[in-house]
Amino acid sequence: MKEKKKTNWVLTIVLILGTVTVFFPLYMAVIIAFKQPSEMTNDVAGALAFPAKWSLDNFRQAMEVTDFWRSLGNSLLITLTTIVLAVLLHSLAGYVIGRGMAKKKSFRVIYLYIVSGMFVPFSILMMPLVKQTAQMGLGNRAGVILLYLVFYMPMNVLLYTGYMKNIPMALEEAADIDGASTWKTFWKIVFPMMSPMHATVAILTALGTWNDVMTPLVILSGTGQNTLPLAQLNFQTQFGTNYNLAFASYLLALIPILVFYIICQKQILNGVANGAVKG
């Protein structure tokens, strides 16, 4: 690194002050979640003040109202299953299409067909999909997972196919000479070598599915199953004007992903940047 360049302190301070734009809404969420309805005032100082006491009562109540643990369980189940299956299936597809493309035109056409799916908005698929999944008995959590696997396929196949350029053919040829099948070569040699891309795909897929409202909204409606965002939407009316209860619930919905972000911040930022550069 070049040591001769001085730290730009003015800019540093401006950027630190700018984080208020990020923290302010979160700060409001926290203090409102801890306040009692009687503490809600209409003046600025009162609205920004700390709650009189830090009690977890609102959270306890919000958990009951929104059936928090079940919604959290559903969100975790859907997101984790989607990530695992996406990494397994999309890497395999990306490998096959990437290698096939180099030799055959038909794979090139298949690649373009799948990747062009990126431009298909959910709105056009939504209404027919609701009917179709219902007919196929997929109007449930499994259906949501399956749809995510299809919706994220264009982006993930694009990422994996692009990454194949970094994996030398020589390794596969050597394995082939040793008598390993293509199937085995992929799982034993190529798949482990794709791990930087696995991280990117897992993170991008996770952020998208965890926060998604529309797919569970149309597929899971009427099943009594909620994901975390969907629970916020469905129980919105039950909060009524009790903003404290509502905000406790919002905060509960935000905490899991915030904790995950704090733990894996570096990987997430690298993953997102990596995805953008390759994409």
Partner: protein, 291 residues
């Protein structure tokens, strides 16, 4: 050797065919069905007839659809411009000689990981209770009532939330773009005595132009498809002034008995998105080639 390569190809097809079937069944097939429904008067239940292009004709005269296109385009245009300008400035700042660089980058990315729906609810409270309180305190007239309740300003509320979240993502992309610019390019421009301002326009911007393309296409597409923020902030109101195309298709297509009509709307919407994306990529590619 020949036999082995044939086996390899067999495995390739054994993987590709199921993947293609899966993709076709849940992406292409519903899209084809959507196109077919768009030629019917289907309400979402009961029987229906084919009505030819009537839905498409009606789309162009339907005031509510027209209004939703106007809102969505206004929102997407303002959002895309704001997000790209702000993110580029943020990225320049976060990529310069500052302290706490990684911590600051980490903090500025937080809005992107949070769900649009819940963030919308939080901002909705801020717009409805905090901003009017600030307006009262300082006597700022237009803030004294919730901007979300105003037909004229509600879209700005939605815009603020959309931009707040999108800037986080685009900043990261611009930072990775700026990191591809080799340091000696800056040193050369410094030796030439170029001002910082000139250096940005003549050196930095042309070199990160591919990233501008990515960001323009990404943010336009995301802004055009806005849904979560509408649900949590305005539900399309007041007086349908913030009804986005996605929201209208969802609302009237799913519960409004306009399955066929909104399918036609969705088909047009899809064509619009494709056309805009292709247009952006062609124009930007030309710009990149010129340099």
């Amino acid at each position: 050797m020949k036999r082995k390569m044939a086996n390899r190809e067999k495995t390739f097809w054994a993987v590709t065919i199921p993947v293609l079937i899966l993709f076709f069944t849940f992406n292409t097939l519903p899209m084809i069905k959507g196109v077919i429904y768009s030629f019917t008067n289907y309400r979402g239940y009961g029987t229906y007839d084919y009505v030819g292009f009537r839905n498409y004709m009606d789309l162009f005269t339907d005031a509510r659809v027209g209004k939703s296109y106007l809102f969505t385009f206004k929102y997407a245009l303002a959002g895309t411009v704001l997000v790209n300008v702000i993110s580029l400035i943020m990225a320049l700042g976060l990529n310069s000689q500052i302290r706490f660089k990684s911590a600051l980058r980490g903090i500025y990315f937080v809005p992107n990981i949070l769900g649009g729906l819940v963030i919308g609810y939080i901002f909705s409270f801020i717009f409805t209770y905090i901003l009017p309180a600030v307006g009262d305190m300082f006597g700022i007239g237009f803030l004294q009532n919730s901007i979300l309740a105003s037909e004229k300003y509600a879209w700005i509320g939605v815009l603020i939330v959309g931009v707040w979240q999108a800037v986080a993502m685009n900043t990261i992309i611009y930072i990775s773009g700026l990191q591809t610019v080799p340091q000696d390019v800056y040193e050369a421009s410094m030796l030439d005595g170029a001002s910082k301002w000139k250096e940005f326009w003549k050196v930095t911007l042309p070199l990160v132009l591919p990233f501008v393309t990515i960001n323009l296409v990404l943010s336009t597409k995301n802004f055009l498809m806005v849904f979560d923020q509408i649900v949590s902030l305005t539900k399309g109101g007041p007086a349908q002034s913030t009804e986005s195309i996605s929201y209208l298709i969802y609302k009237n297509g799913m519960d409004g008995g306009q399955f066929g009509f909104q399918s036609a709307n969705a088909v047009i919407f899809f064509l619009v998105i494709v056309a805009i994306s292709i247009f952006q990529m062609t124009v930007m590619n030309k710009k990149e080639e010129q340099l």
